[in-house]
């Protein structure tokens, strides 16, 4: 099913070429790569290294420093549970435990069927709705462990793409 990673689509290459001349471009380019592929594939990192003329070691050094960059292919649906203080106080850890119980996937992991990846993320700034989680960017607020099964079901049953 996987599309070939290379060559990179023109949208991506033209972005990289546009940024090539700007100093300090690496992080912006990595964001764009991750936005397109969902992660930073090794082959693409090699290609980026060639175009930007930045050593591959440095690209890995920078990418591994920041939480947002990932070298692992994410699941089809991305669940992100906010672990900001307000959410933590209001039981965000229980949500992570419940998600693990339902789909067998802990924070930072991809489920065995590659349908879900789960992440514990930093404050997403909706503290009024704590505890909060997002699935593919859609926000669910004031969630309790009891709600979890109902929230995940449509994604599990492929009712949502």
């Amino acid at each position: 099913m996987a599309d070939a990673l290379l060559p990179m689509p023109t949208e991506l290459t033209s972005f990289i070429n546009e940024w090539k001349v700007k100093p300090g471009n690496l992080i912006m380019v990595l964001h764009k790569v991750q936005e397109h592929y969902g992660y930073i594939p090794q082959e693409v990192a090699v290609e980026v290294s060639k175009i930007l003329e930045i050593p591959l070691a440095k690209i890995y050094g920078v990418a591994t420093f920041y939480h947002l960059f990932s070298f692992k292919k994410p699941g089809k649906h991305k669940i992100a549970v906010c672990l900001g203080t307000a959410c933590y106080l209001k039981g965000a850890q229980d949500l992570l435990d419940e998600i693990d119980a339902i789909i067998g996937c802990k924070a930072g992991e991809v489920s065995s069927d590659e349908k879900f990846s789960v992440d514990a993320v930093r404050c997403i700034g909706c503290c009024g709705l704590a505890p909060v989680l997002t699935i593919d960017g859609k926000v669910f607020g004031c969630v309790t462990a009891d709600h979890m099964a109902g929230i995940i079901a449509p994604y599990q049953n492929d009712e949502v793409n």
Binding site: K22, P23, G24, N25, L26, I27, M28, L30, H31, G61, V62, F65, Y66, H67, L68, F69, L83, G84, T85, A86, Y88, L89, K90, V121, R122, C123, I124, G125, C126, C127, G128, L129, A130, V132, V139, G141
Partner: protein, 605 residues
């Protein structure tokens, strides 16, 4: 007014995420379907601040404040309020005591009464995606004044008079930073905005940019004029997509209107902005780390001096201020430094925005004059603790701050008082805890955060934080010893003295406030092996009160590990069945039994 009514829909993060966009679409559609699109303009605005009650819709000129609005309410709002001129009582905000009839008007709402909005002056009033609305509220007038009527010295002097101090945490006088950069001679200088708001539980910078992006652009341009820079960068968290998007729209519009870019206001002054995304590293809130990140490097702090004001981005003089600090600047230039200095306390001028969250009734963003007491913020504005529970503590300053108790509630908040009280201002997160929150648990949460975010460059931070966390884990597991308290103090002292940047220097703060202000609770964990708040699972035991248990067995049915069985005895007097009992060895302390029991017979000890 061109329209009879203006319908403002909150498009701040919380409301936007909570069907705000659908409400907006629905209102526009219904207004059109019902033929009143010429009478009412539906506008998306920035955060109203009262996030607890979201999604919020405000209708002008009546100032009707509608709360918890759903997309399906749109038709009723248009039909009743817009067409018939009758407020929809059902959706109007009502105070909890139900005695005060606010009619939904903002001025009558207790949450807003003690607030003074300077930073958030436009949030919730204007459409952040339309520069005309910003201009309509004195926008870019300060820039015009700074560029045409003021010299760089006069600008710095005005900021000096205002007494403005950096809102990012440390409270360094803003004018001094500007002055250092101004005095450094260099062909290239930079102005940077720190929008890498990483404090868990703080979202004022995000809301400011989302609700009023032009105020940041205007302020940065003023700073550029003061120091002689022509290029600026806004470093913003990539997670803040909506804020990034609004900022992009705002910079584009500002260029079209000639208030950003070449020859601003025809004065020959050039300044332009670029947005750079963060990638999830808390340490990048530290200014030297932030600059490294803009340069495309790992966000690792550098020793200071040299300070960025002298040698910053790519080695050039660079002014870095936080979003909230910039948001104050246009008003200071326009109304004068003395006006700003008239608000606040002796050493902390102006207002401060706090993100009030946790176990508080009215979660939201509040902006108050410096010197307001914690009690006013938590009880008068925040409405006190949720669900009738007791106030226990308030955490300020995020992972670098401390936890304050009831005794400190009457402290007038400013930079220096908070430090004296044993915490700090930080970026303005204010997390309220009730009697069910365990301070050991919370402090572990913060240490875990700081350890995870340590960049690893200097050993006091890298090793010290981990050591303190290990000790706290041990205490929470019931294996703590009295000697541990001494160890935490020693490690903290070393970290404070020898860490390279503020992250390492402040990592021990939450642990120190645990020792200083919650000594009894800490002792309970260490000596009695008990968690008074009932949070630390290893220190808990569950048991069933024999004489109130009716023997229904619901708890046993719910228990996932079959740890609960009926006691092998006769029913107690007045009961039909024998009571149940929990086997402590099997119990996993999940709490299902407590939830199941209708007679409150299962208790945590």
């Amino acid at each position: 007014m061109a329209y009879k009514n203006y319908c403002l829909v909150c498009a701040g993060t919380g409301c936007h995420a909570n069907t705000g966009e659908e409400i907006y679409q629905e209102l526009v559609k219904k207004a059109r379907d019902l033929g009143v699109e010429k009478d009412v303009q539906v506008v998306k605005t920035g955060c109203f601040g009262f996030c607890e009650k979201g999604p919020i819709v405000k209708i002008l000129p009546e100032e009707a404040f509608y709360v918890h609005v759903k997309p399906s309410d749109a038709e009723e709002l248009i039909k009743e309020h817009i067409i018939k001129g009758r407020m929809v009582n059902r959706l109007l905000y009502k105070e909890d005591d139900k005695k005060t009839d606010t009619q939904g008007k903002i001025d009558d709402i207790k949450f807003y009464q003690k607030q003074l909005r300077i930073v958030l002056r436009n949030c919730g009033f204007i459409n952040p995606e339309d520069i005309e609305e910003y201009i309509g509220r004195e926008g870019y007038q300060a820039l015009a004044k700074a560029l045409t009527d003021m010299t760089p010295d006069q600008i710095v002097e005005e900021i000096k008079k205002s007494g403005l101090r950096g809102r990012g945490g440390a409270g360094f006088p803003t004018w001094m930073k500007w002055n250092f950069s101004k005095q450094s001679s260099s062909d290239v200088k930079y102005v940077v905005c720190n929008a890498d708001e990483g404090d868990p539980g703080a979202y004022m910078d995000r809301s400011t940019i989302e609700g009023d992006p032009h105020s940041i652009i205007e302020a940065m341009t003023i700073a550029a004029k003061a120091i002689g820079a022509s290029q600026g960068f806004v470093y913003i968290r990539a997670e803040y997509q909506l804020a990034v998007q609004r900022l992009e729209i705002a910079t584009k519009q500002a260029r079209e209107y000639g208030v950003l870019g070449k020859d601003i206001f025809g004065t020959g002054f050039d300044f332009d902005l670029e947005i750079r995304l963060g990638a999830g590293a808390f340490v990048c809130g530290e200014e030297t780390a932030l600059l490294a990140s803009i340069e495309g490097e790992r966000g690792i702090p550098k020793p200071r001096p040299p300070f960025p004001a002298v040698k910053g981005l790519w080695g050039k003089p660079t002014v870095i201020n936080n979003v909230e600090t910039y948001a104050c600047v246009p008003m200071i230039i326009l109304k004068g430094g003395e006006w700003f200095a008239s608000i606040g306390t002796e050493k902390s001028k102006g207002t401060k925005v706090f993100a009030l969250t946790g176990k508080i009734k009215n979660s939201g963003l509040v902006e108050v004059p410096m010197g307001t007491t914690l009690r006013d913020i938590i009880f008068a504005i925040g409405g006190g603790i949720k669900d009738g529970k007791k106030f226990k503590a308030v955490q300020t300053g995020g992972p670098s701050g401390g936890v304050l108790t009831t005794e400190k509630l009457d402290t007038p908040i400013d930079f220096d008082n908070l430090v004296a009280a044993g915490s700090m201002m930080g970026s303005g997160g204010m997390i309220v805890m009730d009697e069910e929150d365990c301070i050991v648990d919370i402090v572990r949460f913060y240490l875990d955060f700081s350890v995870d975010e340590s960049c690893g460059k200097c050993s006091p931070c890298r090793i010290g934080g981990r050591k303190i966390l290990n000790i706290l884990d041990k205490i929470a597991e019931g294996k703590g010893e009295m000697d541990d308290i001494k160890k935490i103090k020693e490690i903290s002292e070393a970290m404070k003295r020898s860490s390279l940047c503020a992250l390492g220097q402040t990592t021990p703060n939450p642990a120190l406030s645990l020792i200083n202000f919650f000594y009894d609770e800490l002792l309970a964990h260490i000596q009695d092996k008990k968690c008074p708040a009932g949070k630390c699972k290893n220190l808990l035991s569950f048991s069933i009160v024999r004489n109130t248990c009716i023997g229904c067995g619901l708890c046993a049915k719910k228990c996932p590990v079959n740890a609960i069985t009926a006691e092998d005895c006769e029913p107690l007097p007045g009961k039909k069945k024998p009571p149940f009992v929990i086997d402590g060895k099997k119990c996993i302390k999940c709490g299902e039994c407590i939830a199941a029991c209708k007679f409150k017979s299962v208790v945590k000890l």
